[in-house]
Symmetry: C2
Subunit: 355 residues, 2 copies
């Protein structure tokens, strides 16, 4: 190996996303996508799109999209920051808002990208233990810090924190930025967006990848006070001026307008989730109470890694994290009722085989 | 102003992109977009796209798109890195490859995002003067450095550097990464891609925004040896796993397949450029020899800022940089023949009025 430039470049260990199997006939319950197609309005928007316009740069301000989101959440256009998926939005938030010598606080079990971003941007962080029931203890976040990040509901456990508890954390940390990652809030939780007028240190992040069934277009957004939007835009515009392309804007506008479809989708997923949790309990699984489009479940009698491998052999993909404290759990995305029936049937067979 | 979090966050001065006028009936010659629509295959690709698939994350590897580009440029799939516009690609290159204490070398007059990225990532840089004819002098780049970035043709002047001169720079700097930004190479220049097998320190960056008429989809790509691809992917995957969305992939595949349309577009633009340069010379303008889809032109008898303002009043947008050495020049994107005729007519009127 002769790489004379080796010392001048950056070597890093990246985040590893969930497996994307190439095979067809797979039941894909491993990356928390929506099992239902996006709103029919999306198809229409693409069909009607004037492709000649693609020769031009996208709208820089994205005002049409911002206005629809503003209306949806009862905020102002100037409270919205858009990005190429909520991963980009949160990464840019980390880069902008966490710039002190004090460590930011994140739960020890949470979205596994947070500590990767800390490493990327040289941000000190402290991982705060969830309690034994995988609950975030609010008291632990009432201390000096460089910032706070909480996923609510928390991934990959699915547990939801009540808004009044969250508000205590936000209120205590008025001298830090508190990011609430609400990727899964539409599956039963109450959003903290209502608090952004009250707290200028609060940033709430949402995504089109889960409840809006548009993981393929990559769109996420942050909502916060105008001051923070300004700093965030400045960093973003020092990185990449046009992060949300024209087709993404057109598709997202069509999707956001169709509130009825959105409602029916999320209600279906919640209903299926509750049924699956009940079915699993009958088979001896213990499932963390979920307010997400996934569940986190364990069977005290069978190794999670074994179930994971066996399901995979049957082309059913779920997510397994080989990490301390959670290596006896499986994270299972809620699919359609048919998919979940096949999942439960497969589990039954595995259990029968095991004993 | 009471912002208790103020000291903990990052304050930055962003890059300012070219103006995007909201009015219609505008002749937009200010952001180097292609005046022709994208390939008709793009329309077909969008019309045929199965929108139900948008519920899923995009392909992580983007192999179908990479394979078509690999075939186009006679490289391997593993020599290609894709990103959300060439701005993102170059930003990630800066973050990955420029990580030493030595300054990177960039021309003093060049794409104005380079020094913005240096500031964003705390990269030291030295701006090397172009000569009085706005030529990059290769000798100036044959010295110790933390990296080299050269736009070829260079923006906003449009001047092209011969490949043999460029190769001397690449060859001398085997212990640094040399980035050649070829956003405008398709308008008459010879690409350095042929050199990536020979030099493992070379990175060549292209975009779909100019010659491929797809600024709206945001797609750029870097081509380099597999070693560098690996380090670049690691940084990218620590930032955002899915930067190129599903629709962008589908549209870009359709576009890249249509080589005939691509050829005819760029030939038309080259032809119009040469005609416009000739017409301008008859009016007393002096134009830097351009191998781009824009020209950099000055009239010794009229202030550039005056012409800029007067054109704007007539809804003709060109680009003016109020910076030392270039504040008597206008950068004018090559539009359709009709657009350029209107531009020349407008200039004639301005000149007549001025004298």
């Amino acid at each position: 190996m002769n790489k004379p430039w080796f010392d001048k470049i950056r070597k890093i260990k990246p985040y590893v996303p969930g497996e994307q199997p190439n095979k067809s006939n797979v039941i894909k319950l491993n990356t928390n996508e929506c099992p239902y197609p996006p709103s029919p309005m999306v198809k229409k928007a693409l069909r009607d799109y004037d492709t000649d316009k693609l020769r031009l740069y996208p709208s820089f301000e994205c005002n049409e999209l911002k206005d629809i989101l503003a209306e949806t959440y009862n905020v102002c256009r100037n409270n919205i920051f858009l990005g190429n998926g909520s991963d980009e939005v949160i990464a840019l938030c980390f880069q902008t808002f966490f710039n002190s010598d004090m460590p930011i606080l994140i739960p020890d079990i949470t979205y596994s990208f947070y500590d990767v971003w800390c490493d990327l941007y040289n941000i000190k962080y402290e991982q705060i233990l969830l309690d034994d029931s995988f609950k975030i203890k609010k008291e632990d976040y009432l201390k000096k810090n460089g910032g706070v990040v909480i996923a609510n509901p928390n991934a990959p456990v699915g547990k939801y924190m009540e808004l009044c508890e969250l508000e205590e954390i936000i209120n205590y940390n008025k001298d830090s930025i508190v990011i609430i990652d609400e990727a899964y809030i539409d599956f039963g939780g109450k959003s903290a967006i209502s608090l952004i007028d009250k707290y200028d240190n609060l940033v709430v992040v949402h995504t089109f990848s889960k409840s809006r069934a548009l993981a393929g277009i990559r769109l996420g957004y942050a909502m916060c006070g105008e001051d923070l939007i300004g700093y965030l835009e400045a960093v973003k515009n020092s990185f990449n001026s046009y992060t949300v392309n024209s087709l993404t804007q057109a598709v997202a506008i069509a999707c956001a307008k169709d509130r009825e479809y959105f409602e029916s989708c999320r209600q279906k997923i919640i209903k299926t989730r509750e049924r699956v949790v009940y079915e699993l309990s009958k088979m001896g699984f213990e499932t963390i109470q979920s307010m997400s489009n996934f569940i986190f479940t364990t069977n005290p009698k069978i190794k999670a890694s074994f179930i994971f491998d066996e399901l995979k052999k049957q082309n059913i993909f779920v997510r397994y994290f080989n990490k301390p404290r959670i290596n006896e759990y499986l994270r299972v995305t809620i699919g359609t009722d048919d998919e979940m029936d096949l999942f439960i049937e497969a589990l039954k067979k595995i259990i029968n085989y095991y004993f």
